[in-house]
């Protein structure tokens, strides 16, 4: 059996210690071992963005990331972005503008846009489009997603 040396990192603000094989993929670790199922598996190839999480604050495709690479680093998933009660201003904007349809891509978009707004509180439309260009949505034509991000950036709460 492959060895299961513990992997230590910060997960959604708390220290985490989980056994993980060398080849374990971060997405599998999150979804299957830690039951954090808000991070979605859309392609396993880094093509859809549904599995986006923040690693040290940076949007990262968890399906292309070996779990071992987050040793000692900080991982934030959609569960860590969501407040204990209610919604973040960005999440509220997604709901109110109708930026979710099937919702499968939504956690990835929320994670990506949360990082964008943290670094660029008032992004231009071009910056928004560039930031989300790694996230696929087949339902909305992106129209209301962009609108939601603009709404949140425009004073949001």
């Amino acid at each position: 059996m492959p060895s299961l040396a513990p992997l230590r990192f910060r997960l959604n603000g708390h220290p985490a210690e989980v056994p993980a094989e060398a080849a374990r993929i971060l997405l599998d670790l999150l979804r299957e071992d830690l039951h954090l199922t808000g991070t979605k598996r859309g392609c396993d190839l880094g093509t859809c963005g549904c599995c986006t999480v923040l690693v040290d604050g940076r949007p990262t495709l968890s399906c292309l990331t070996l779990a071992r690479l987050v040793e000692g680093r900080s991982v934030t998933t959609i569960e860590g972005i969501s407040p204990p009660q209610g919604l973040s201003p960005l999440q509220r904007a997604f709901v109110e503008t109708g930026a979710t349809q099937c919702g499968f891509c939504t956690p990835g978009f929320v994670v990506t846009a949360t990082a964008l707004l943290r670094d660029h509180p008032h992004p231009t439309r071009e910056e928004i489009l560039r930031a989300i260009s790694g996230n696929l949505c087949r339902c909305t034509g992106y129209t209301k997603i962009v609108e939601a991000i603009e709404t949140a950036a425009g004073g949001g709460a």
Partner: protein, 774 residues
């Protein structure tokens, strides 16, 4: 009860956020793959490397012997055929005698983990005899050495042939002042929903089988599981968790769903079967690759005299919805216009490629592209503005088409007027600088198929159950399948509107065949119309009980009571009234929780000739779109900047959702125009990934100006019609015709990639032709 006037609606017509939105933005919405049953085994499928092969023998002994393997299944265990249409059952859960495309399922394994399952698959040995492969439907129209299915017409690979002739087409062409012929060639496209296909099945010692699946038609899955596995429906429970998009790709009962259930039966353990993205592409069931030829004749004034249409449709390995597709390529070509003479020959031919099936605006998309491009040419020839030509030919309300479709409401003329005015058409068409263009495309689509796919037993197309208990919460049950289009929200909205309560009182329950009454699911744009009417009917029954209770409490006659916001009051003396909860508790004193069932069924429509029911619908949506675009004439790259989308969905019940459907439809339509294609080398799919099969990026998305101009439909709930599929169709020809306006090149084949645009521009330059007009 008289229909309330517009101003009396409290929620209908507003922008109502999706009820499950807060769960989706926090990652808390539960999709099938998020469900983890204790002791779950991993299911995996072995897929055929051969496009066409006879499976002579198979040795699974090594795979079975591998520690950690619980079951290895091959086709002969469950050989009963199935398929979404009862008349064309030709699929099996696992291939029985032959593999029919690269990707066909030939064995299934359940093991403790993914790695063991993969190792087991690698240990399965087939003795397979390769058979002729058929990549092009043209090679399958006559007798072939080895038909893909025994049911092919006269030893050919033709799955379905439809021939229809109304009026006298030849005579019409003989007296025509103008006629055009357009030959179109359309690559296949696929749904590319973000949630991959996935199923969980669990067989329990009480003799029951529970199946959770990413499906948009849970009822047909329920039936197919029962038929193939030989288990009565009441012992099977089908649950539909949240579904991450469907667009038709989750509407067939799919082989992996049945294989997963078979593995669960075999092992007595829960089995999860996740179809990876590559295999989702092989499963396909997307829009059919199609070759067509359209001829249209008009008189000197541009009045349409006749259509003459041929379509050759590449079906892939299975029938799927193909019989419907074959009809639709003909019958959905006519509206929104009056066509007095019509001839159609459509053939759908099996090939040894991944099956095609139903995809958003099924059967209408490709043919409408050809028709609208042909009309653009005719307008030019007849020296008519494209709008004027269409205006002249618009089907009037309350009319009957030549093939006996009943048209009730149509606001098509309003669509034309709105798109023309808002787009600034009259100052742009043929007047923009070289490289810029505007184009018009129009469409119509069924608002629900009038005929349910399964005819027996006779039962309503949709049923909704409501239960209101003392807490004042309203539980709504139905097998209508929300796949992101907002049908749960619509159900809550209608119930809240009828009862006068806040929408958060209505809790739409997850689809679960044990408790949800049958609704046939999300296909043919039927849900708003049919479930909406069923929901309204159920809510009206509850409302009657509440109004009676309110009358009792106030001592006023019941016909004096009316619905307010969370209260019921006297219309004579509005101060006299009771709250919703007071009325509820009074009503409950008699019978306990209030329960009601509402249902909707269609009445017979259409003619009596063979195939007359195909395309009949209780209502139709209509559309007129203008696209404006800019072509980089040095590279052929083009950007659609604005789409003015004038749409008639009757009354828009939830404006937010209607906008979302139109924006998403424009995006998906744009994908098929600009570059999406299932690319094959022979029978091998060359681009089975979201990297190589490219849907439009956010940067490619135009501004969509939505113009909702529909009048109330007489039979739709609160006057509504569909808005889920019709909005796609007009997008494609609007772009194609705008490209002609921009650079003077006609594009009859899809997709129109930059290299084709550049080639067309170069050719026109070499011919030295002026770029505007013919």
């Amino acid at each position: 009860m008289a229909e309330p006037t517009t101003s009396e609606y409290r929620l209908i017509g507003q922008r109502v956020p999706y009820v499950e939105g807060p769960l989706k933005v926090t990652g808390r919405a539960e999709y099938t793959d998020d469900i983890q049953r204790p002791g779950t085994l991993v299911g995996r499928l072995l897929r055929s490397p051969w496009p066409h092969a006879r499976l002579r023998a198979v040795d699974v002994s090594a795979a079975r012997a591998l520690p950690g393997v619980f079951a290895v299944l091959t086709g002969e265990r469950y050989p009963t055929t199935f398929g979404v249409l009862p008349i064309t059952h030709d699929e099996t859960a696992i291939a029985v005698d032959k593999a029919r495309y690269i990707g066909d399922i030939i064995a299934a394994v359940a093991a403790t983990d993914e790695r063991t399952a993969e190792r087991a698959l690698a240990l399965i040995r087939f003795d397979a005899e390769p058979l002729p492969e058929y990549a092009d439907p043209r090679g399958g129209t006559d007798r072939v050495p080895e038909p893909i299915h025994s049911r092919g017409l006269n030893g050919s690979n033709i799955q379905k042939e439809v021939v229809q002739h109304f009026g006298d087409v030849d005579a019409a062409f003989a007296r025509a002042a103008h006629s055009v012929r357009v030959r179109g060639n359309f690559a296949g496209v696929t749904h590319a929903f973000t949630e991959p296909l996935v199923t969980i099945a669990e067989s329990t010692p009480d003799g029951r089988l529970t199946v959770w699946s990413a499906t948009q038609v849970p009822h047909y899955l329920h039936r197919s599981l029962s038929e193939v596995l030989g288990i009565p429906m009441h012992r099977i429970r089908v649950i539909k968790p949240e579904v991450g998009g469907g667009f038709g790709g989750k509407s067939d009962p799919l082989p992996h769903e049945i294989a997963c259930a078979a593995l669960a039966l075999e092992t007595g353990r829960p089995v999860k079967l996740l179809v990876d993205r590559e295999d989702v592409f092989y499963t396909n069931h997307g829009r059919h690759p199609t070759q067509n030829e359209v001829r249209i004749a008009t008189d000197a004034d541009g009045q349409i005299l006749a259509y003459d249409i041929e379509a050759l449709i590449d079906g892939g390995a299975w029938s799927s919805f193909g019989t419907v597709t074959t009809y639709y390529n003909g019958v959905l070509s006519m509206g929104p216009y009056r066509v007095p003479n019509f001839r159609y020959r459509g053939r759908r031919v099996y090939t040894t490629k991944p099956p095609s099936g139903a995809m958003r605006a099924h059967g209408g998309t490709n043919i409408r592209y050809s028709i609208e491009v042909a009309l653009d040419q005719l307008a030019e020839r007849a020296h008519l503005d494209p709008f004027d030509l269409r205006e002249r030919n618009a089907l009037p309300p309350n009319s009957t088409t030549v093939n006996q479709f009943r048209i009730t409401s149509t606001s098509f003329r309003k669509c034309l007027a709105a798109a023309r005015a808002k787009s600034g058409w009259d100052r742009k068409f043929r007047q923009l600088p070289y490289g810029r263009g505007v184009g018009l495309g129009c469409g119509f689509y069924i608002s629900g198929s009038n005929s349910p796919i399964h005819f027996t037993p006779v039962m309503p197309q949709s049923t909704v159950h409501l239960k209101v208990d003392m807490d004042g919460g309203i539980a709504a049950h139905s097998m209508q399948a929300d796949i992101g289009q907002g049908s749960n929200t619509l159900l809550a909205l209608i119930v809240a509107e009828v009862l006068g309560v806040d929408i958060e009182r209505v809790h739409v329950q997850r689809v679960d065949s044990d408790v949800s009454p049958v609704d046939l699911g999300s296909y043919s744009s039927r849900v708003t119309f049919m479930m909406g009417n069923a929901a309204r009917s159920a809510a009206e029954k509850i409302r009657a009980e509440l109004l009676t209770a309110a009358a009792e409490l106030t001592g006023r006659p019941v016909d004096e009571m009316q619905v307010g916001h969370e209260r019921y009051f006297s219309r004579v003396d509005p101060e006299v009234g009771v709250t919703f909860l007071e009325a509820l508790h009074r009503a409950m004193a008699r019978s306990g929780a209030l329960v009601a069932s509402g249902s909707f069924n269609t009445s017979p429509l259409g003619g009596t000739f063979k195939g007359a029911r195909a395309g009949t619908a209780p209502a139709y949506s209509f559309a007129a779109y203008v696209a404006e675009l800019e072509v980089d004439v040095e590279t052929g790259v083009y950007q659609v900047e604005t789409v003015w989308a004038a749409f008639d969905c009757g009354r828009a019940l939830n404006r937010l959702a209607v906008e979302g459907q139109i924006e998403g439809s424009v995006h998906m339509g744009l994908g098929q125009v600009m570059g999406e294609a299932m690319n094959y080398r022979g029978t091998r799919l060359m681009n089975p990934s979201l990297l190589e099969y490219k849907i439009p990026m956010p940067q490619q998305m135009p501004k969509v100006e939505i113009l909702l101009v529909g009048d109330d439909d007489p039979e739709g709930p609160f006057g509504a019609k569909e808005a889920g599929e019709g909005p796609l169709i007009a997008t494609l020809p609007a772009v194609g015709n705008a490209l002609y306006d921009a650079v003077g090149v006609r594009f009859t084949d899809l997709p129109i990639t930059p290299d084709k645009v550049l080639k067309g521009i170069d050719q026109r330059r070499q011919e030295g032709r002026p770029w505007k007009g013919a």
